[in-house]
């Protein structure tokens, strides 16, 4: 029973995170507006929201436009349903900037925001006459929900599947690195078995990370593969460890295979560490937190996302270790059988 508590924890965490990943809803947000050009005179637009409650909060709903730091008020023409509201306004004579942000207020959803949604054609630069007095403040989101991010939308749930794969891979590959060092300092076949098993398990997680990342990239960035330092790093890591597997397959003598593989493993891990830690700092990328810092504080994590994301990371790491542990025991038995024959 002593060894079972972390397995129970692993199952508990994964069940919790998988349920939460797909069950928790997204916070309200604005998706689109019916047209993006503003012509002189009176204009009518339909604003489309997501998970919003326009109809249930008819009294408090308010739509206004922002140009630089001044606001244009609009009138609400019709509330079609919970997600659609029709508003109209007269295009003002002078504007500080030609692009307008749309803000939408109601008591339940708080202040929602759609950046650069409208574009005024043939505008004349100048201060806005009779700027509208509004209070822009974001109400605290009391409901438990994932943040609404433009372009990402519902796929933000993938954070709980994609990112833990890489965390797990790094932990498992670290086991292999340490085992290789221990093998070189004291050549016992046990350390070699550990190194080999953990590389195999780490590779599975790397491939899972590539697949989940590729699907997410298709959705958020529009392509299955993009040029990004993180993606280069992921591909390089995967290829290096595939090389490790190929290297092992090419050597027949047991002791020699263990020694050469350990040397390559240590070399690869240290070089990889230098490259992955420092290289992303030198180029811009599409991943969040880029532009100087590869850390992940700048993911827009809200408290509900954190409450699922951190347990997910721990759960997947435990699962990876569990798989590694099982395979290691299997390989030990296989090795013993092979030598007893």
């Amino acid at each position: 029973m002593k060894h079972i508590w972390w397995k129970a924890l692993c199952i508990l965490l994964l069940v919790y995170t998988l349920l939460m990943t797909f069950y928790v809803g997204l916070n309200p947000g604005l998706i689109a507006v019916s047209s993006s050009t503003v012509e002189p005179g009176y204009n009518e637009f339909t604003l489309v929201g997501y998970n919003t409650t326009f109809e249930s909060n008819k009294e408090s709903i308010q739509v206004f436009l922002r140009s630089d730091s001044s606001f244009i008020c609009t009138e609400i023409l019709e509330i079609e349903d919970e997600d659609k509201v029709k508003f109209g306004f007269i295009s003002p004579a002078n504007l500080p900037t030609p692009s307008l942000d749309i803000y939408c207020n109601n008591n339940n959803d708080g202040t929602l925001f759609l950046a650069n949604a409208l574009f005024v054609e043939g505008y004349t630069a100048g201060p806005l006459e009779n700027s509208c007095e509004v209070k822009v403040e974001k109400d605290a989101q009391t409901a438990f929900g994932y943040p609404f991010q433009p372009r990402i939308f519902e796929s933000i749930r993938n954070l709980m599947l994609h990112v833990p794969m890489w965390f797990t891979m790094f932990v498992i590959l670290f086991i292999s690195f340490v085992s290789s060092i221990r093998y070189l300092s004291k050549p016992k076949i046990e350390w070699d078995l550990r190194a080999e098993t953990s590389v195999n398990v780490g590779l599975v997680f790397a491939i899972l990370g590539l697949i989940t990342g590729s699907i997410w990239a298709r959705f958020a960035w529009g392509a299955w593969w993009v040029n990004d330092p993180q993606l280069n790093g992921a591909l390089v890591t995967t290829l290096i460890y595939v090389g490790y597997v190929v290297l092992r397959a090419g050597i027949n003598d047991d002791m020699k295979r263990a020694r050469v593989a350990a040397v390559f493993n240590i070399f690869a891990y240290v070089i990889l560490f230098i490259l992955l830690m420092i290289l992303p700092r030198f180029s811009e990328g599409l991943h969040p937190g880029k532009g100087g810092n590869p850390g992940f504080n700048t993911y827009d994590l809200n408290s509900s996302l954190r409450a699922v994301f951190y347990p997910a990371v721990l759960g997947w790491i435990l699962l990876g270790y569990w798989i590694y542990h099982l395979r290691l025991r299997m390989n030990r038995v296989r090795h013993k059988l092979y030598y007893d024959e």
Partner: protein
């Protein structure tokens, strides 16, 4: 120690010059690849294309030059060296010799490239920093691929393994070099580019240190 390293480098060079066909073969490989690029592109005006193509040629030249640096040793010589030379000295000599080899091959490719494909993207003040990039790149390739080819030589499956093991690790290095040299050709100020150079230096030193530490384990056989 320094004396023995120097002696080993001289020995390595003498061996190579005695079998001239390998050296000439690699030089011919570099030249014919450049000529192939000339046939395909005729003339390149865009700085980054020019630079990337040159790096790809140098990369493959490096693989064919260094990939077999551990292959052609005979057993008797190996045993003799094993008893008389420390492994650290041996790998240091190997790396230094490969650096010299790669420097000459790098500049050979560079010269041939200018001869055939023109130096259209260049302005007069770019030559110095650009050549510095080629020097550091050749040194980086040589140090990285020496240990990799030492590892690959231990395998029973032959020369092809150097590429399988080496190319993934070389990708970030070549990205960095390409960025540095493309930056020069697209007029990015040198002060913004110098951090690439510093990183290249740190990486090469790291590789050298690791090679020195790890080679003794490959050496005992």
């Amino acid at each position: 120690m320094l004396q023995r390293v120097l002696y080993l480098i001289r020995h390595e060079a003498r061996m190579e010059f005695r079998q001239q066909h390998t050296l000439i073969g690699i030089a011919l490989f570099a030249l014919s690849t450049v000529y192939l690029c000339y046939q395909a592109f005729q003339k390149i005006d865009q700085g980054n294309v020019w630079s990337s193509l040159l790096w790809i040629i140098i990369l493959f030249t490096a693989f064919s030059a260094i990939g077999k640096s551990f292959q052609q040793q005979n057993k008797g010589l190996r045993l003799y060296l094993f008893w008389n030379v420390a492994p650290g000295e041996f790998i240091l000599a190997k790396v230094l010799y490969n650096m010299l080899l790669m420097l000459s091959l790098g500049f050979l490719s560079f010269g041939a490239f200018i001869l055939f494909l023109g130096s259209a993207p260049f302005e007069s003040e770019m030559w110095g920093p650009y050549m510095l990039g080629i020097v550091l790149g050749s040194i980086g390739f040589a140090s990285l691929l020496t240990l990799i080819s030492g590892i690959a030589a231990q395998s029973d499956s032959g020369v092809g393994l150097t590429a399988v093991l080496g190319i993934p690790i070389v990708i970030p290095l070549i990205l960095l070099l390409n960025k540095y040299n493309s930056n020069i050709l697209t007029n990015v100020p040198f002060s913004e580019n110098v951090e690439n150079l510093a990183f290249l230096g740190v990486l090469t030193l790291g590789i050298l240190g690791l090679s020195y530490l790890l080679f003794p384990y490959l050496w005992r056989d």
